[in-house]
């Protein structure tokens, strides 16, 4: 801790610990979040939602609501139908109702909206809308969704006679079966990753301001992907794209919850068009939990084959995926299961195979969210859980089993049996560092002593490899939009600069780290570099921030655009110093004449000359700026070793996370303070998912996690003081060697915690227990009743 204090005044011209530029406004209550936007004449919008999971809409009577004080408009699905706006595309080439017309398909679905003078009046009027429903049998149990007698949810899709969304397969089934048939040991486990919710502290919302004279729409919205949203609004609403300005101001956490377009955003646009006034919509917490993008909901059968000496040979899995009522998964089009294909983990296998079926149920849509790196959370949980189950069967130490099977450093770039090309990695040092920090051998000794006394202590390990930074445009797009990112850099005459990004921070600190990336390349202090983002009118096109893609994609763009500026600066410097370009050396911040370091010009002097009087070299235009669109050649593959220590109270079955050691390798480290913060946040998510969080439903499809009293999120009392470490294995294809870090800890921590709990329960003969490991579920496990949560 003393180290933290000592480092506080570091002001690096480039990489290093640097205090954040965005903090000044956020600490003073001067942040500008969507709900802080106040426009003259602004109205407020509230949404009427379905109380039923599955019901036909017989009639809607809005007359009383329309007559309610302050009400300016009441809009139903029938109104939207007339405008051709009742349905909109999802990010997975499905459609979703903007307002229900025929029937409702999940509890909380949007049925009508009211626009009124203030929030209270809008809410009052909702209660006066009279909807007659004809309740239908809901599909709640995902295992029964494909039964022949299951009610068909998507009757809106022509010819649809079942609840099937897609089948997906990866790896070589025949080869995998062959390896399994010859293996000494096969371990099989049914593993559930329950439905959870990102629940950012700021809920979703928007302020729409349509100017009918200019035909121009301004939309402040809680979006992680302002440019992609703008394009989709142009397609959905028919407003020309150049007349739409999407502004993502300060965002109060995203975690994937703010990637999709929600009906509410469209409602605010329609509301503004209909009333001719700005319209604000902010959902409340229950609306956020019951209707916006959930995460996970995979039922997985995992099988692992190995030799009796502990050489892992193959992994195969069968997955049933619950996608809710509409397939709203935000993933690259060719990856309907996201990047689940990396379920082969960090191990050198002979074969692997996965078969997946996705189904519709009467639950909210979503699936890819909560810092999941496009389903890598599920993949890593699967492999790290089944590897531990194998260790249990072989009576091997789980650390030893992993060390024995790691992909070796000389095997990189490594192509997995499911076709992913891991760019770089050196796993053993990362694992050894985590074990050393934890004092692994001493912990095992302590555990043995405690077990002898009947105390329950567990040590859990997880080792993960992530695939982040989507992605190469040759095979990754969202609704046809390539996953590249633009970046523009201008150096002003006085040597101050502005860099414009297509990605958007939701708390990750882009205004600081991106200034540092440019500073490292140009030698301009970060304080002199403004980072602009979140406003489509002022930034280049790109696909936004999610899936840990900002540093891998946009960070590369920022480094390369700065190098372009530096290349131009070099031409100008050669004229200023009257030497050839070949005779110049770049020493961060200035060009020097080779062999004569006294003769040099700084980047600031060059900037002034670029904009100033006097001739420039032939062919060199005035100004000092550049732009780029970066298309990554591959994903980046960060890795990490996590060790968790838990104690379980045998009397109450309460799990206490005593220690958590996280060693992460995200390649080149731009700002270690921010990296540590990203890791801490993800570890806390992991405690939530492993021990507390779950969105569950009763048999009628009522959501039982509809408030923060029912959906439990960790507070400061449930988490330990995190212990972090790092190794550095740069990405060979990334311009600065950096890999993503935003989601590593969310991906890696749940299996470490569950493995620790299962390890603590070893005396009861437990090999697996599903999340969330609440006291009642642990209590059941201790009594041999470790039933799945769904």
């Amino acid at each position: 801790m003393t180290q933290v204090f000592e480092n506080n005044d570091l002001q690096p011209v480039g990489y290093g610990r640097m205090l954040r530029k965005e903090d000044a406004r956020l600490l003073r209550g001067r942040g500008r979040f969507v709900d802080d936007v106040q426009l003259p004449g602004m109205l407020h919008l509230a949404i009427l939602r379905s109380p039923f999971a599955h019901a036909t809409i017989v009639s809607i009577d809005t007359s009383a609501a329309e007559a309610s004080p302050g009400v300016r408009a009441v809009v139903t699905g029938e109104t939207l139908k007339g405008l051709g706006l009742a349905w909109m595309p999802t990010l997975s080439n499905d459609v979703q109702a903007v307002l229900a017309t025929d029937k409702v398909r999940f509890q909380g679905q949007e049925v009508a909206f009211v626009v009124a003078e203030d929030r209270y009046q809008a809410r009052d009027a909702l209660e006066l809308i009279d909807v007659e429903y004809d309740v239908l049998e809901p599909v709640v149990d995902v295992r029964k969704a494909l039964s022949p007698d299951a009610p068909v949810i998507r009757t809106d899709l022509e010819g649809k006679t079942d609840n099937h969304v897609f089948d997906w397969e990866t790896g070589d089934e025949e080869e995998t079966n062959r390896v399994f048939a010859a293996a000494d040991v096969i371990v099989k486990e049914d593993i559930v990753y329950p439905r959870v919710h990102p629940a950012p502290m700021e809920t979703c919302g928007s302020v729409a301001d349509f100017d009918p004279v200019e035909g121009r729409l301004r939309l402040w919205s809680t979006t992680q992907a302002p440019h992609a949203h703008r394009t989709l609004y142009a397609i959905v609403a028919g407003i020309p794209e150049h007349k739409i300005q999407v502004i993502a101001p300060d965002i109060g956490g995203g975690f994937g919850n703010k990637v999709p377009i929600y009906p509410g955003y469209v409602h605010s646009i329609v509301g503004s068009i209909v009333t001719g006034r700005p319209v604000k919509w902010m959902e409340d917490r229950s609306e956020n939990l019951i209707s916006t993008g959930f995460a996970r909901d995979y039922i997985m059968r995992a099988e692992i084959a190995a030799t009796s000496e502990g050489k892992i040979l193959a992994i195969r899995t069968n997955v049933l995926a619950d996608h809710g009522a509409f397939n709203g998964t935000a993933a690259p089009v060719k990856y309907p299961a996201g990047f689940f294909g990396v379920f082969t983990g960090s191990y050198d296998l002979q074969a692997a195979h996965c078969k997946m079926t996705a189904v519709y149920t009467n639950k909210a849509p979503g699936g890819v969210a909560y810092a999941c790196s496009f389903r890598i959370t599920e993949a890593v949980y699967l492999v790290e859980r089944i590897v531990d189950a194998l260790a249990y069967e072989l009576r091997m130490d789980p650390a030893e089993l992993r060390l024995k099977n790691f992909i070796r450093p000389e095997q990189f770039p490594y192509t997995t049996k499911t076709g992913w090309v891991y760019d770089s990695g050196d796993y053993e040092p990362t694992m050894r560092l985590a074990m050393e920090m934890a004092g692994y051998d001493e912990l095992r000794k302590e555990q043995a002593e405690k077990r002898a006394r009947g105390e329950l202590m567990g040590i859990g390990i997880a080792f993960f490899t992530e695939a982040v930074g989507a992605g190469p445009r040759k095979n990754m797009d969202i609704l046809g939009l390539g996953m590249a990112d633009g970046c523009e850099l201008r150096v002003h005459p006085t040597g101050k600069a502005v860099v414009r990004l297509s990605v958007k921070t939701q708390g990750q600190g882009h205004e600081t780290t991106f200034a540092q990336i440019v500073a490292e390349e140009l030698g301009i202090p970060p304080a002199d570099i403004d980072v602009l983002h979140g406003d489509t009118d002022n930034t280049p096109f790109g696909l936004g921030t999610y899936g840990s893609r900002s540093t891998p994609v946009s960070g590369a763009a920022a480094a390369l655009v700065a190098r372009k500026v530096r290349d131009k600066a070099k031409l100008i410097a050669s004229a200023m110093l009257e030497v050839s370009v070949a005779d110049l050396d770049w020493v961060k911040g200035s060009f020097q004449v080779k062999g004569d370091p006294g003769r040099s010009v700084t980047i600031q002097e060059i900037a002034f000359r670029a904009h100033g009087a006097g001739d420039l070299p032939d062919g060199v235009e005035g100004g000092l700026e550049a732009q780029i669109c970066y298309n990554p050649s591959n994903l980046t593959y960060p890795h990490g070793a996590y060790i968790c220590v838990v104690d379980i109270d045998p009397g109450t079955a309460e799990v206490k996370v005593r220690r958590f050691i996280a060693v992460d390798d995200c390649g080149t480290r731009i700002n270690p303070m921010i990296i540590e913060g990203q890791v801490h946040g993800g570890l806390t998510d992991g405690v939530g998912m492993a021990l507390m969080e779950m969105i569950s439903f009763d048999e009628d499809g009522n959501c039982l996690g509809a408030s923060l009293m029912d959906y439990l999120i960790p507070t400061a009392l449930e988490v330990p003081d995190w212990e972090t470490g790092f190794t550095v294995t740069p990405s060979p294809h990334h311009p600065i060697g950096a890999k993503g870090i935003g989601e590593s800890a969310t991906v890696g921590s749940p299996p470490a915690i569950v493995n620790a709990v299962v390890d603590a329960l070893k005396p009861f003969g437990i090999r697996h227990a599903d999340m969330p490991l609440t006291p009642s579920r642990v209590w059941d496990a201790m009594r041999g009743r470790a039933t799945p949560p769904i």
């Binding site: 801790m1 933290v4 204090f5 506080n8 205090l19 954040r20 965005e22 903090d23 000044a24 956020l26 600490l27 003073r28 209550g29 001067r30 942040g31 500008r32 979040f33 709900d35 802080d36 106040q38 203030d118 929030r119 209270y120 990102p198 950012p200 502290m201 700021e202 809920t203 300060d250 965002i251 109060g252 956490g253 975690f255 409340d284 917490r285 229950s286 939701q506 708390g507 990750q508 303070m673 921010i674 540590e676 913060g677 890791v679 801490h680 946040g681 993800g682 570890l683 806390t684 998510d685 408030s707 923060l708 009293m709 999120i713 507070t715 400061a716 009392l717 988490v719 003081d721 995190w722």
Partner: protein
């Protein structure tokens, strides 16, 4: 109904509906948007302000109940350009990321330090346990409070030295 309250040292009188929540009064009526709203159920604490020096969740206090009382919000922490030490502590120790829970956290932590200038880690965690942060994992918030406590203690010692004969 008419309500009069003092917010950050300034008295305000407004005509409001009896059902208006304090958080909406501060944000929508006075335009003090530093105080946030997050859950409706008193679980998240992003709306914490002081009512007569005590932290309260302003989403479950009626504006009318604050009539005749003193309210302090995050906007009332800094004095001009100078941050309150708790704000500086959060800055130094990366105690915030998205900044949405921060105003409430700052008000609670300031109140803790006013009451207990040298809290243990456990006391800090207990004090902020009615509030949720989705970004930081809390360790850095704990460190921010410890940083502030250490710096305020050092500043007090310097002051004492200066006045000593």
């Amino acid at each position: 109904m008419q309500v009069t309250m003092t917010v950050n040292g300034t008295e305000h009188t407004r005509e409001i509906e009896g059902r208006m929540l304090l958080v909406h009064f501060l944000r929508d009526v006075l335009g003090l948007t530093g105080t946030h709203w997050g859950c409706d159920t008193s679980n998240c604490g992003v709306c914490v302000v002081w009512l007569d020096g005590e932290p309260v969740k302003s989403c479950t206090v009626l504006a009318a109940m604050a009539g005749g009382h003193e309210v302090r919000t995050v906007e009332g922490l800094a004095e001009g350009a100078e941050l309150d030490p708790i704000q500086e502590g959060f800055r130094q120790c990366h105690g915030l990321q998205c900044g949405f829970c921060t105003p409430g956290m700052l008000m609670t932590c300031r109140a803790l330090l006013d009451r207990n200038p040298d809290p243990t880690e456990g006391e800090i965690r207990e004090a902020i346990s009615g509030q949720i942060c989705r970004c930081t994992g809390y360790s850095s918030i704990v460190r921010s409070v410890q940083w502030t406590a250490a710096h305020e203690a050092a500043a007090a010692a310097t002051k004492e030295e200066a006045v000593a004969p």
